[in-house]
Subunit: 318 residues, 2 copies
């Protein structure tokens, strides 16, 4: 590995001159700078991030921590964030699980975007003491170094429930995702709010974990029940899809025998028969907004927490 010293030797100058030249400092005449750059290139020199980061006390990198790569919701969000960050010469890096912990602890990034319920509030609060801007997408957590930008789950579910009610459904059940998560709780709150305003109560609650498999299990239970709900509002699309699959295999017709709705509007949902009604979030745009906010935070700005609005997509499932 060639270092700045090697370049200096090859160019017959000092390492500071090399450093200046390579960083386009105006004091070095263009001719000299170009000569040095050429030499650096020839001996295959690439600056070491470790040394530079240590000296500059920053990394020019943003970490995005997600709960897993397998889910269908992150893709566009990540592309949106990256799209915006790249415009500003920031490097974006994505991690999950233990890797996120490591990256966060070691301050391998100048800022972080968190969407991983496995990372505890406590850890994040601890971290925020030494780590500048953190934006959380999956919880309501706030302090001088932590901002939250969440989806307006409550409002979206409130609207959806009102629409469901207007279609005449009476026995409305909610299919929970992971119980204590921010998304699940606020989604449920939206339903309850709409129900309450209509002097109704939730007919039944089922408990899943946001996965398709948990939806299937729930559907198996529903099939055996003598008194069934007439509408299932699900915490997300994946559970709704799992439920529909099993229900239909057991000759329960959707929406004739039972209505169902999801949340997220993943791609699959519009291909399923019947097409799933859901709440659509423009994840790409949301990602861009998040990145823009982070960039402002990095510059020292103070930002308010925001809520991203979803739009109700009514298709065939209720």
């Amino acid at each position: 590995m060639a270092t700045i010293k090697d370049v200096a030797k090859a160019a017959g100058c000092s390492i500071s001159t090399v450093s200046y030249a390579l960083n386009n400092d105006k004091r070095i005449p263009e001719v000299t700078a170009n000569r040095i750059k050429k030499i650096a290139d020839e001996i295959n020199y690439l600056p070491s991030a470790a040394a530079r980061n240590l000296k500059k006390q920053n990394t020019n990198t943003i970490l995005v921590a997600i709960s897993n790569f397998g889910g269908p919701v992150y893709n566009e969000l990540l592309d949106g964030i990256h799209n915006e960050l790249a415009k500003h010469e920031y490097t974006m890096v994505v991690s999950t699980g233990a890797s996120s912990d490591n990256m966060l602890k070691q301050r391998t990034a100048d800022g972080a975007i968190i969407s991983d319920i496995n990372i505890s509030d406590k850890f994040l609060r601890q971290l925020s003491k030494n780590f500048k801007p953190i934006i959380v997408l999956d919880r309501s957590l706030n302090n001088q170094n932590i901002n939250n930008m969440t989806i307006d789950n409550l409002k979206a579910m409130y609207l959806l429930t009102q629409d469901v009610l207007s279609k005449g459904y009476k026995k409305i059940a909610y299919v929970h995702g992971v119980k204590d998560t921010y998304d699940n709780k606020t989604r449920f709150s939206g339903i309850q709010k709409a129900l309450r305003e209509n002097n109704l109560e939730i007919f039944k609650e089922y408990f899943g974990n946001f996965t398709k498999d948990s939806g299937k299990e729930i559907a198996s239970k529903i099939i055996e029940e003598s008194i069934k709900p007439d509408m299932l509002i699900c915490g997300n699309d994946e559970m709704a899809l799992g439920i529909m699959e099993v229900l239909q295999e057991n000759n329960i017709k959707i929406p004739e025998n039972m209505g169902i709705s999801g949340f997220d509007d993943i791609q699959l949902s519009s291909y399923f028969t019947p097409k799933l009604s859901s709440i659509k979030i423009n994840h790409f745009e949301w990602g861009q907004k998040i990145a823009k906010t982070l960039l402002r935070l990095l510059k020292g700005a103070t930002e308010k927490s925001t809520k991203e609005l979803g739009t109700l997509i009514i298709r065939e499932s209720y």
Copy 2:
């Protein structure tokens, strides 16, 4: 930010003792070590990756560079790689576009896994001079520091084509993905090999770019052709899905009027009507294999290039 110095001061010992204690060096008695660890914790000390990386000349991090987050094929692959790497205390980080370039150049990782055709062979070869193990998944590139682990496209497509032939299809067309990519070329070669062995020739070639939209465009053309193929072998599922959508809208029945096949077996393909026949790759397991190989490479082992086998999934589309 607390540094090792602050810990030393607080503990009333030297920084070397702190370093030893924190790294579980056996020379430090457990009592002392625990006391120091507790103090470090109290003052919120976390070691700096930059300093440590600079000193140790490694990062304990693996970079995975992919072409975009939007595609449906990477998810399981990434989870597979991470799953294996995490077992060995490595940090995995994923990047795309310019971020990948930056990470690679700056040696922010000890090794890299590349699946991004936007990164040139030349750049990779250059990089391999200073950067230890690189595994490429999307091309056939080899030198002492670069290994390739690709999908056995040729074999898979050969098998698929033979199956297609056995079903009686005669006018077989190929829908290309991005023309000069390894995946596209080798997939086409597999088809040609099978055709040749049966004294047949490709009936027609269409040119897309692996996206659903390019599939739609191609379908629009096909509709207007007076002499149509009776079978479309597509370079991947996404194009096949796009084609099917448009074809069906125009009353061309699949598989009655025209057969079609994909490659990758993405989740959507089994939900589409008709269900798409494709080549399935177990991306999670493949990811694990890749990580294991990389880990061995990191230890200095020499590895041969490998080809991951796909399995033919015959459903309803031909």
